[in-house]
Symmetry: C2
Subunit: 377 residues, 2 copies
């Protein structure tokens, strides 16, 4: 066995974001001075590495193609048993979601998705129809948002692995995470926490099934079928907010934007860290669906936890100066039918990142933990 | 268990290329008419899907960014246990090679590599230093060819998984696989078969080790250390032919080009299929290194098999009209020091794809089997 493995630094001790930072350094350490012209046979290369306007650490990279519009690129890897279970009923939904989460990243930069590259690892015992169902699901999502399948790789592996790289183009200037300023309001599209509620339902139904009881015998039987379906679909079949992002870009005034993939808490921390700001989030203002509230009440769960830390809502969270906010909210609702809600405000960095409880829960302001989903803890 | 799995079409029965075709159809079947404008909130999208000039089936996709140079994109997934073993001595080399094979794809289109996106699946028990070594290897290769790390994803998985998506820019017009015409000569850079010879050495040394004998007791002890190192490095640390590709592009006259990743046989079949041509390959002319010849002789192996079917040489194979060939060969040698060899000629499609044995082996012409490496057979 590999003894060095025991002696080294555990992934859990540095966490996902710590790891990313160290890896960028490992790469950089080996890359002293850009292009080695000697290796190009004396020909000077066409593109300077400066084409990379925005690299690691946002929803998508921004590349300035000489003479062209800024290119947006995002990539995501999904592994069976870690990110999904490979079940016959859900292959098509899995395909849809695998592309949707990448489309969401492009939208969160203010861009339009365009070209997808798919690498999939397929177990030797799988059959062609299984892979086709996955692709058909991706194709449905692609058709809805005008994405072309442009390339990929198909390899053998023990477990299913899906890697999507999606390219898009910025419509106007790409919107990063770092443009927020103290005083800007923080807004979110749609509702947050539904995906976590749906996951909760899914897991409890599955454990009921495993215990030999039908879903109808579980606690969830007390939830209306409409609530159940709505919450499950928010988790299994999220809709990327491309139309809302376009409406925001066209209206103008957005200073920073991300999608809610890890949870509102985690995303607020990103927006603050990148801008050197603090924040106050009013928990009473979090847009939480009646269905999620009902489920939380019946399960004895804290609905704020789902909204703040659940993640995978794929809503847009963004900041804008206060005077632009009413117009933005109106414009998005008119163009897309989607509600946009003010959930807080960026503050001076020294004020920290605080969550304010609703008056009926005491109205206390407490530090907001950045407990989004972290793959290595 | 999943009963449909038994009833479906096995991957082995369609093969890797058959699967790719069916998947493209599954995707297309779901994508009736490009962009659904309704989903973009009434805003017409910035890019038409027609930007995709060349999709699945070449070394890299070609995308026409509005106003910009053609973008080249390639992606490759490597899985532990299928494509590599995760050993402490070879992590850095693995990182180098994972990037090198993608750089080779960009070079094979006549482009310059630029921006890399890395997704890696990391086992829970791994430590940070292991991942850093992998990245450091990639960084070395990146520095050599001016590639910037532009983004990626880091996830947990059972086995190590490495997915590289590499973007580059075409220098002049991208060079695809379909431009060859009957009468064009077929040429290859450097030598072919060394990587397969290196893999043979590696596997026999490893089986010796497993049997408790040192490498020095094995047959390979009869090979000079210089030969051994040269062949192992061709397999473990390939150099993408970026400089040679640039020299070819600058000189002009190349009608079709690929890299030799699956083996000369397989690549010749690709060049012929895409152009509707046949081919005659003169086995006597295959550029095979003295080291590979010596190893084949001592091992009682057919050196042509390594050259034709071994793959992973990452040389360039290309076609050009006969009158341009002397100038091309001279130019590449002068600019890069690399030899280029004529190995055959494209013929009329009806003539088939034939291999001609050397005179001392009878001079017979036999159909050339397309037995490159295929992941699912």
């Amino acid at each position: 066995m590999d003894e060095k493995r025991q002696a080294g630094t555990s992934l859990a001790s540095v966490g996902e974001f710590g790891l990313i930072g160290r890896l960028a350094q490992a790469w950089q350490g080996a890359a002293p001075c850009g292009i080695a012209h000697g290796n190009l046979g004396g020909l000077s290369p066409v593109i300077p590495p400066e084409g990379l306007r925005l690299g690691i650490g946002d929803d998508a990279a921004v590349i300035d193609v000489p003479g062209g519009k800024p290119l947006l690129v995002t990539t995501d890897m999904l592994v069976e048993g870690v990110h999904f279970l490979w079940s016959p009923e859900r292959r098509r939904l899995l395909g849809r979601k695998a592309l949707a989460v990448n489309i969401s990243d492009i939208a969160a930069m203010g861009g339009v998705p365009a070209w997808a590259f798919l690498s999939i690892g397929v177990p030797a015992g799988a059959n062609v129809e299984e892979v086709e169902e996955l692709y058909a699901g991706m194709g449905e999502m692609a058709a809805r948002f005008g994405v072309a399948l442009a390339g990929g790789d198909t390899v053998r592996s023990d477990k299913w692995v899906i890697n999507v790289t999606l390219l898009g183009l910025a419509t106007k200037a790409p919107i990063g995470r770092s443009g927020g300023r103290p005083g800007d309001l923080i807004l979110v599209t749609g509702t947050v926490g539904d995906s976590a509620a749906g996951l909760h339902l899914l897991l409890s139904e599955e454990s009921m099934m495993a215990a030999g009881k039908g879903a109808s015998e579980s606690n969830e039987a007390h939830i209306s079928e409409a609530d159940r379906q709505a919450l499950l679909l928010r988790h299994l079949d999220p809709t990327p907010r491309v139309a809302e992002a376009m409406a925001l870009v066209v209206h103008g005034g957005v200073t920073a934007m991300m999608d809610v993939s890890d949870g509102v808490s985690s995303e607020v921390h990103h927006l603050c860290r990148n801008a050197g700001c603090g924040a106050r989030i009013d928990l009473a203002n979090l847009p939480i669906s009646p269905a999620a509230r009902r489920l939380a009440r019946r399960e004895g769960r804290e609905v704020f936890a789902w909204a703040l830390s659940g993640g995978e809502d794929y809503e847009l969270i963004f900041t804008a100066p206060e005077e632009r906010v009413p117009g933005l909210i109106d414009h998005v609702r008119r163009e897309t039918g989607t509600d946009v809600t003010v959930i807080g405000r960026l503050t001076d960095g020294a004020a920290g990142i605080m969550a304010v409880y609703p008056a009926e829960k005491g109205g206390e302001a407490v530090p907001l933990a950045a407990k989004g989903y972290n793959h290595f803890r």
